[in-house]
Amino acid sequence: MIIERPREAPAAGLEKASVWPMGILVGLSLLAVGCSCALVISASAEKTRLLDGYLLIDPTARLFLLLINSIFFGVAFYMWYLIRTIPQIAKRIKRSAALSCAFMVAANLAILSNHFLASWLFLELTTLAAAPLVIREGTRSSLLASWRYFLFSSVGLALALLGFACIARSLESSGSPVTLFIDQLATSAPSNLWQKVGLALVLLGYGTKLGLAPMCTWLPEAYDEAPPSVTAMLAAVQFNCVLVGLFRVIQVFRAGNQELVAAQLLACGLLSMAVSAIGIITTKNYKRLLAYASINHAGVIAVGLGIGKTAMYGLLLYVVSNAYIKAILFLTAGRIKAHYHTKDMREVSWLIKDLPYSGLLLMVGTFALLGLPPFGSFIGELLILSELIRGSYLVVFVAFCVLLAITFVATGRSIFPMIWGEAKTKAWWPRQSLRSVLPKLVFLGALVSMGLYLPATLNALFRQVAASLGGQ
């Protein structure tokens, strides 16, 4: 017997008033995307100071503003679509929209900040806005995950703050003017013991927010428990804001010494990759698997930052690609969970038939996650690997390859049976409308284009940012 699968339809009787907060959020995020595009198209390598020098628009800010705002627009559109179709969510949407808006404003300001402490401040504000969003109504486990996210983030950022205080002391002890304005520090940063301690603490603190081992235990739990849209914001937006914070530190302090904190970054990177490989092998929860994959990404990025030089361009491709990959995969995972009511990957199969769009997105997203061509992540990993060989980091190269291979096999072994595996139960789901997957398809388009064809303006921007990080 053939059963007709109905299309998803907007919820009947949903009052107009309940949708407007999310409509405003979508509008604001669209405006932010427009502004970011205008900044990128201006295609200037020069730095522009705003608000008495508190804000700085440079190539790094241009690239990452475009990245986080485009992802946030997609996530906001996804949330707006869900509210239109599921009335129960609309009841508590005002709070979510307000917190998401605060999160986004703080994220934009964190990227634009020209003062280390101001940047730190806005990162803390993104945490304060995101922590309540992690809580799902009615589940204590999400409340505990939110607590651990907030606690680890606060303590990590407190350590980063202490690091900046140590850097200020290093300036004081060397007789340099004590300022933490990024563009003024660039020419006057001395090197001494205080600076080394400060940089190590900043790396530890920001590493905690990025999910770098050993301070990564909060991440799988928070990403698993948070609603999918919030997980996408944490993994693809907040992650990149923190990364920009770390980039700023590297841009300033690496200018005089390319080897600064390189060993710590390599060690943290490889340790994170090892922790993630173990997590991916042992977990049976597909959302948690994606969370462990995020730790793996953080590890690859740390290794890329550690070796620098030509790896920087590849690293940037990898960072931008992975932001889109994580947004696609976490939103898709939410969709799968909503239909199967389980996060156990053994209970999910035949996705490509049951939920064709989600199955396809999970498949393509996993290919990109694993660094297969033609995606930007493939080129990124390739450039990092070639720099490892060129720089004679042979032990790191071997460890990197072994850990990537383990992650590759373990991820494929877990995810692919969900897509093509034989159906365990016969069930018919409502047919997915194109609008429900539109944001993810746009992310996918961006992802593929980065591997196949990068417009000249964007390519120039990537090169400018790579050069500012010491890339060649």
């Binding site: 949330m79 869900l82 409340l143 407190a158 919030v230």
Partner: protein
Amino acid sequence: MTTLLAAFLVVAALPFFIVTWRTALAALSLQGLLMGWMFFQRAPVVSLDSILALVDLVAVRGLLVPFMLYRVMRTQNALRRGDTILPNLLSLMMIAALIALAFRLASQLDPSGAESQTTIAVAVSALLLGLFTLATQTGVFTQAVGALCVENAISLFELGRGNSAPLPVELGMVAVFLLSACMYALYVRWIQPGQAQEFSAEGPIL
């Protein structure tokens, strides 16, 4: 100021010896008040910066934040010794070792032997004690107290040097600390020990 630093160190270690939640909050409060006193001794000149710093140290860290947590614990009728750090020989030895380590580290970082070295040593001691609390405890209240102790240690560390942040940034940092403390109080209120695993059936999510 050295006497005040010694008092700060005693206050930071106090919750490990007198194990009640009220002692932990009193210690937090005293840390803020002592830092306010130290700041006033160091910079008695009245300016916008110094008023903001005093508001942060005395009003926010010394009074408001501990009082907020006190209200939450009172509302929950928390047991006198519930969610506290229970001392044993090993933990006390660890505390002594952490303080010794902090003093050793301070002598490496600032070999001058002046008061600034003692400030660093006491700040690092408080930081390590806060991190020790976070690493060994699972209760929400104790972890919140440990995190606030870390924040206070960083404030003490910053007291020992000149101001490097402009006023708007300082103002923002006080506001963010206050917001964070409010979040800690909310989590202590929300996550009560012994509550059922799930509140109710979960509905659709964003």
